[in-house]
Symmetry: C2
Subunit: 510 residues, 2 copies
Amino acid sequence: METAHRRKGRAARRSEAPARIVNYRHLRHPFTPQKVLSDDAVDAIHAMALKLLEDLGMKVLLPEARRIYADGGAIVDEAAEMVRIGADMVGAALTTAPKSIRIRAPNAERDLTYEDGALIFSPAGGCPNATDRIRGRRPGNLATFDETLKLHQSFDVIHKLGPSAEPQDVPAHLRHYAMMRGQLTLADKPLFVYARGRGQIEDSFAMIRLAMGLSDQDFTDSTWATTVINTNSPRQLDKPMAEGIIDFARAGQLSVITPFCLAGAMAPVTVEGALVLQHAECLAGITLAQLTRPGAPVSYGGFSSNVDMKSGAPAFGTPTHIRLAIGTGQLARHVGLPWRSAAGSAANVADMQAAGENHMGLWANLVANATLTVHAAGWLEGGLTFGYEKFINDIEALQIIAELCAPLATSPDDLAWDALSDVQPGGHFFATKHTMDRFDRAFYAPLVADLTNHGTWTAAGGQTATERATAIWQQVLADYTAPKGASDRGENIARFIADRSQAGGAPPPD
Amino acid sequence: METAHRRKGRAARRSEAPARIVNYRHLRHPFTPQKVLSDDAVDAIHAMALKLLEDLGMKVLLPEARRIYADGGAIVDEAAEMVRIGADMVGAALTTAPKSIRIRAPNAERDLTYEDGALIFSPAGGCPNATDRIRGRRPGNLATFDETLKLHQSFDVIHKLGPSAEPQDVPAHLRHYAMMRGQLTLADKPLFVYARGRGQIEDSFAMIRLAMGLSDQDFTDSTWATTVINTNSPRQLDKPMAEGIIDFARAGQLSVITPFCLAGAMAPVTVEGALVLQHAECLAGITLAQLTRPGAPVSYGGFSSNVDMKSGAPAFGTPTHIRLAIGTGQLARHVGLPWRSAAGSAANVADMQAAGENHMGLWANLVANATLTVHAAGWLEGGLTFGYEKFINDIEALQIIAELCAPLATSPDDLAWDALSDVQPGGHFFATKHTMDRFDRAFYAPLVADLTNHGTWTAAGGQTATERATAIWQQVLADYTAPKGASDRGENIARFIADRSQAGGAPPPD
């Protein structure tokens, strides 16, 4: 049989062929940034955000933050805890905030350049629960937290670590030790730190220094840790968040300022109104960071969507979410800073809704040219649950997007004249030299997608993509090996963790 | 309770508020066209496609078509059935092919303008089977065909009809009567006609004229019918397809030239090589249409993807599919014509794979600015099956995209200064006048997405989006009512169908 022969030939060839080379580690956006706002609207939103900060101000609950703002020229009403920030202060902050930030990783090959044009994915973050088809939905614990880090580590398209499942079985005053140990010993990607009070932040920074053998100065001169600062919209900055901005700025670490403005709830119901609020809160956070330490790494950010009209719950992947993401990108470019966005899903299970919402968010961030897309994989229930099968299916989407980032080279050979001449009308290209030379590395190999026909698929058990994903994450965990240097890093921090735990740890603020 | 009071107020208000006004009928692309090919690569592909047609030529199986090509100046080898087409002939065709085509519908409000910038969706087409969660997977029959038309008719975001399920219980020589009767009596959107031989085409055109009360001249002066012409890649045009191009051109009806170039199978394995072939075949079809009747409506088109390396099956929503769609758009704009693309899925069931692949294809076509996206809803198994639940979930995606097409107006009120001033830090916008005035129409209302929390969702049965879609299509079919004029159109063609059926119908070519 000609066909069988050909297939055998290809199979034999495959084992000799070089593996398909893919580099998902350092991605650049393939598309030009799109707009939903006119240039006039961008100007008007920026101007109104400045007016909001100057005329109405932010409520800032941390006295130290109010003092820093006041020292920078803000008008502070101590009794009301209100801080009115002048446009000149914001303007000064925007001149010192860096446009490009190198985020260091334990493995230097995983360092990231955080700047306009970069495309960075981080996984589902902040989830109190986790779910999978084997063990069901349950509160996050340390074993699950560590498993999620192994999943993050196993896919290059996840560029930064994230707190995918809160380890609730670890007492709150010791939890940050477990979270940092997991990151340093199970992975080698850029690290996150929760801004849960000064004590935990200082401990976390100390662990990074110890693990990596860095002096205080080495550490402060580079960006090793990232935190997300959520304002308490509208127009409020609570104590731990303000402390986070200050402590990260002082230590040269990255705060990602992220108002969570749900249009119709914590923000105006219109896209433009929600963006005025988000932009103002973002600029207030950036200003605090720059007043604390001019040049401190800080990111513009947003994660705004709308509430659902029926349930009042947050919705994701909606037209409003997409528009807010694209509009956020316009405003970030207006002030000249790299910025974060997010994908995500409100679905309760890894189903078509979950896939659809995530794809809408991912593509919104693609056409918006978001620097960092948080919650890019695994987010269910609007962030209340990390889904293992959702994570695997989302990785497929991220890998497809990552493939688009490598520009087509278009050499004369790619035009395939010889193959086009050789193959007769109605024939096929399977066996041409042009195909054989490229077949093993021409196409993306799916992770979850099953392309067999209905009969074969049915005979093999007729599993959905969600069902198939179970065996995939199980295999990924079975195949996992710790990265180079992991055990050294673990040893470097063991004594510190034991001593600090013994001394009572660091309780988060009330 | 303040909250309950507010909610009650909103619910009461809702019943009085005007319904949310959405117009999904005439969409324009919201994003600027993106590129995967350099301008030089576009030039090189175009030049090589012309060289392919001129030096190697197309095999054209229909003698009449070879004669038309020869009369237009092509070099024809009758023994080999090969037609070599000069670049000058292609150039002349490209000057007469229309850049904007008005596609008429039985309901004039559903007429479409087929031109660059328009965004038109048509449903899954060409499926021999259908599947749903109640009745399972089965061969298409007339009842199913008619049901799918009711589904197409019920969603404005489906702009054209398509043959979603082949009515295999109707004998082939009579099937076109049933398919046209269904379209004319169950819907009022633009019509499709299969190019299955001259007899069926003439019958179908006659039914349209009778149904709509058009003279031959009226009919020929407007575009009432659309057909898809698939070349038999590589470089072959079979008899029914050539006949279709000729007959549609003569009658002023629209041929959508669509090579189906699977990279690595019927086309070169590279994106650029596949595009050379697709572009050449497209230009050959357009040239035949324009030689037949200069100015005849004809569309540039492509539906190219890659084969799966494991199974040899077509894959969709892949990086190669996305790149080919965007590259096709670049080539269509290079020759200045509106163009068709497609979404679709190879999944065997309405699952996350199905959703993911469809979203990738839809967004590829969005950033490529495809004029017409075929198979936008319901396509499973690479076109072998129409899925009811997949259709409903895909409609959700299309509606979200359609929402993005209405530009933001950004009036001063949208910036929401009054609301931003009224709401205190840490407060909420639920009850502001700005929100209350807009709440009922600010946001897209989901069709399938369930945004309730996990407890509520579980208590309600814990259904996936695929499961929920069943009740939705059942309700849509229960609520369906025939459009205005449908019964008149049916009466107008009844006698013709009876007579023609009596006379033996019109068998498709062998």
